[in-house]
């Protein structure tokens, strides 16, 4: 990589880490370290929430998905604004008003210590491992693209993040997120601008070709439980997923617990409600524009250079044959795309339809050859190809002018670091508040709790980096843990719904939680065709149903009001 790109990356890292170090001043207790003394303005919390959710996988994987699959993935987020509004009037006032450090602490006030400890433990188990995968995903891509050692890529992302998270706590995390969100948005706009400027045909014509290739298909109204991305799975399943994520996941809850007031906490969530769908649509559209750009440029057969080299070494004759057929197919596709663009200006309807049909046929040929190449890559490398993650990085490095690679790398680091920092901060909070302080050392000085909180953050940081470094070896284990994590996401939401129902009792809640997790596990094992987006709805429904059934007959519990006091 050119030294100018390195300077851009170095300046970015220096600003983020330097600011983190500056934020260490004035933090003397864990309320300052974990919750910024509940002093953050709504817009900083809102940008922090958005930056946390926008990981490096979103930046490189989702744009790649836009290039190969179009805009349909945006349906996944249709439930988000609904979830934010529901949370704004339900859980947010309860959690913020209760003056808790963790969402799970609220459950002990409402139910009992074992429900709190179990939900917090489930959070630690799933998020601890997923934090490693958040570092691993971009590290693997950077390692393949630049040919760097994986451990160095993990260190490039992990070490600065751990430093500013350990030293600065949530203040450093939230304010770094704000800067990182601007870096990410700036990089995206720079790339989109370059794509539009360099498009060899008028944008309107190009978008017609994208439409013919199905890349602008957003809505799928079919009610099919086996399809992951439909309008209904997004609206129903997506709402429950987002309710679970933003309402019960400590990495998100901790952001708005740090807001100045309930109204500011609500406003911060509504910022995501405003911008998430347009932002995701824009990210996917960037991928669509890259797809269009490569219609008129020699596109790589495999975007992952390491896999390409491995296939060439393992199956040289087959690779040469694929390359040859691919070159012919993309030349035919390019000619068909140009013809389809030209015929729109003055051609008859039949001619336009014929040109688009021809384009679709040539596009299908290219896709078929790419599918063969991807299968060869999986055989040669012994791992899933995940070629989609390499489309944008290759485009930026191969096609954009000097400096763009640095801006893009800074944006990938920003996206990864903002997600990891939030996870580390919340993992440390749950460890210290829900376990260390609750069970081991209830009384100690502020200085002691601050010190152990920093140590816990550092330990989680080192653990995440180790998991990321051995991600390839731990692949199946990580997948199991992530899958296990999805089993109880909806169930934990169910527990929080029960917590707001006056009749629900502790025993019903705890058994309900176990039943919800069991039900989702049973569905995943015996009805695997049901898409994961529906798991959250099933889990939440079973927890509430079983919890309320087992609470029947008992007196109404002393409700915890939205101001956090017992009525």
């Amino acid at each position: 990589m050119h030294w100018i790109n390195w300077v851009i990356v170095a300046v970015y890292l220096a600003i983020v880490v330097g600011d983190g170090l500056r934020r260490t001043r004035g933090t003397t207790d864990i309320e300052g370290y974990f919750l910024a003394n509940r002093s953050l303005p709504w817009w900083a919390v809102g940008l922090s929430v958005m930056a946390t959710q926008l990981s490096a996988v979103t930046l490189i994987g989702t744009t790649g998905q836009g290039a190969t699959d179009g805009l349909r993935f945006v349906q996944f987020y249709f439930g988000l604004p609904i979830a934010m509004v529901i949370l704004g009037v339900t859980l947010v006032p309860f959690l913020h008003g209760a003056k808790v450090y963790t969402a799970y602490e609220f459950l002990e006030r409402r139910f009992d210590a074992k429900t709190r400890s179990l939900t917090s433990l489930l959070f630690l188990l799933s998020r601890g491992m997923s934090c490693g995968t958040i570092i691993a995903a971009p590290s693997v891509v950077l390692s393949s693209i630049f040919g760097w050692d994986l451990a160095w890529c993990v260190a490039l992302i992990g070490v600065p993040t751990v430093i500013y998270t350990v030293l600065g706590g949530v203040q450093a995390v939230a304010w770094a997120d704000v800067k990182q969100m601007f870096v990410i948005a700036g990089a995206m706009f720079a790339i989109i601008t370059m794509l539009i400027v360099r498009m060899p045909i008028p944008l309107d014509d190009a978008l017609h070709i994208a439409g013919a290739a199905g890349r602008l298909q957003v809505f799928d109204f079919s009610f099919d439980l086996s399809k992951t991305y439909t309008f209904w799975s997004g609206i129903l399943g997506g709402t429950f997923l987002m309710l679970s994520y933003f309402g019960t996941d400590q990495s998100q809850v901790q952001r708005y617990l740090a807001a100045r007031s309930v109204d500011e906490a609500r406003s911060s969530l509504l910022m995501s409600a405003y911008w998430k769908i347009p932002l995701q649509a824009l990210i996917l559209l960037t991928g669509v524009l890259v797809f269009l750009f490569y219609l008129f440029q020699p596109a790589p057969l495999l975007y992952n250079p390491r896999h390409s080299a491995q296939v060439q070494a393992a199956e040289p004759a087959a690779f040469a044959d694929l390359q040859s057929r691919y070159a012919t197919a993309i030349a035919a596709r390019q000619a068909a795309a140009r013809a389809a663009a030209t015929v729109r200006h003055g051609g008859s309807d039949a001619a336009i339809r014929g040109a688009l049909d021809l384009f679709r046929t040539t596009e299908a040929s290219v896709t078929a050859i790419r599918t063969e190449a991807l299968a060869a890559a999986e055989r040669a490398s012994g791992e899933p190809s995940r070629d989609v993650n390499y489309i944008i990085p290759r485009f930026v490095l191969d096609q954009l002018p000097l400096g763009f690679a640095g801006i893009f790398l800074a944006a990938v680091l920003a996206a990864a670091m903002s997600s990891i920092a939030a996870e580390l901060n919340s993992l440390s909070t749950a460890t210290i508040v829900d376990f260390y302080q609750r069970w081991l050392r209830p009384v100690a000085s502020d200085a002691h709790f601050l010190r152990v909180s920093k140590i816990a953050t550092a330990i989680w940081g080192v653990f995440a980096c180790v998991v990321a470094t051995y991600a390839a070896t731990l692949g199946s284990l990580i997948e199991v843990v992530n899958r296990f994590g999805s089993f109880f996401y909806g169930s934990i939401l169910g527990i929080f719904i029960l917590a707001m129902m006056p009749r629900a009792r502790a025993r019903g809640a705890f058994i309900g939680l176990l039943s919800g997790m069991g039900a989702v596990g049973a569905v995943a094992i015996w009805v695997p065709s049901v898409s994961f987006l529906w798991h959250n709805l099933i889990g939440a429904a079973v927890v509430v149903a079983v919890g309320m059934l087992l609470s029947l007959g008992g007196p109404a519990a002393t409700p915890v009001t939205s101001t956090g006091t017992s009525a």
């Binding site: 704004g88 602008l216 405003y274």
Partner: protein, 32 residues
């Protein structure tokens, strides 16, 4: 629900509706 929050809520739903309509127009205008 405070009047301020109700106003924000209306804005959120309005923006979502506009976003969905724009996506629908994008899809239908460029559908071949």
């Amino acid at each position: 629900m405070t009047p301020q929050f109700r106003a924000t809520l209306q804005r959120v739903l309005g923006i979502q509706l506009i976003t969905l309509v724009l996506l629908w127009l994008l899809q239908s205008h460029y559908a071949a």
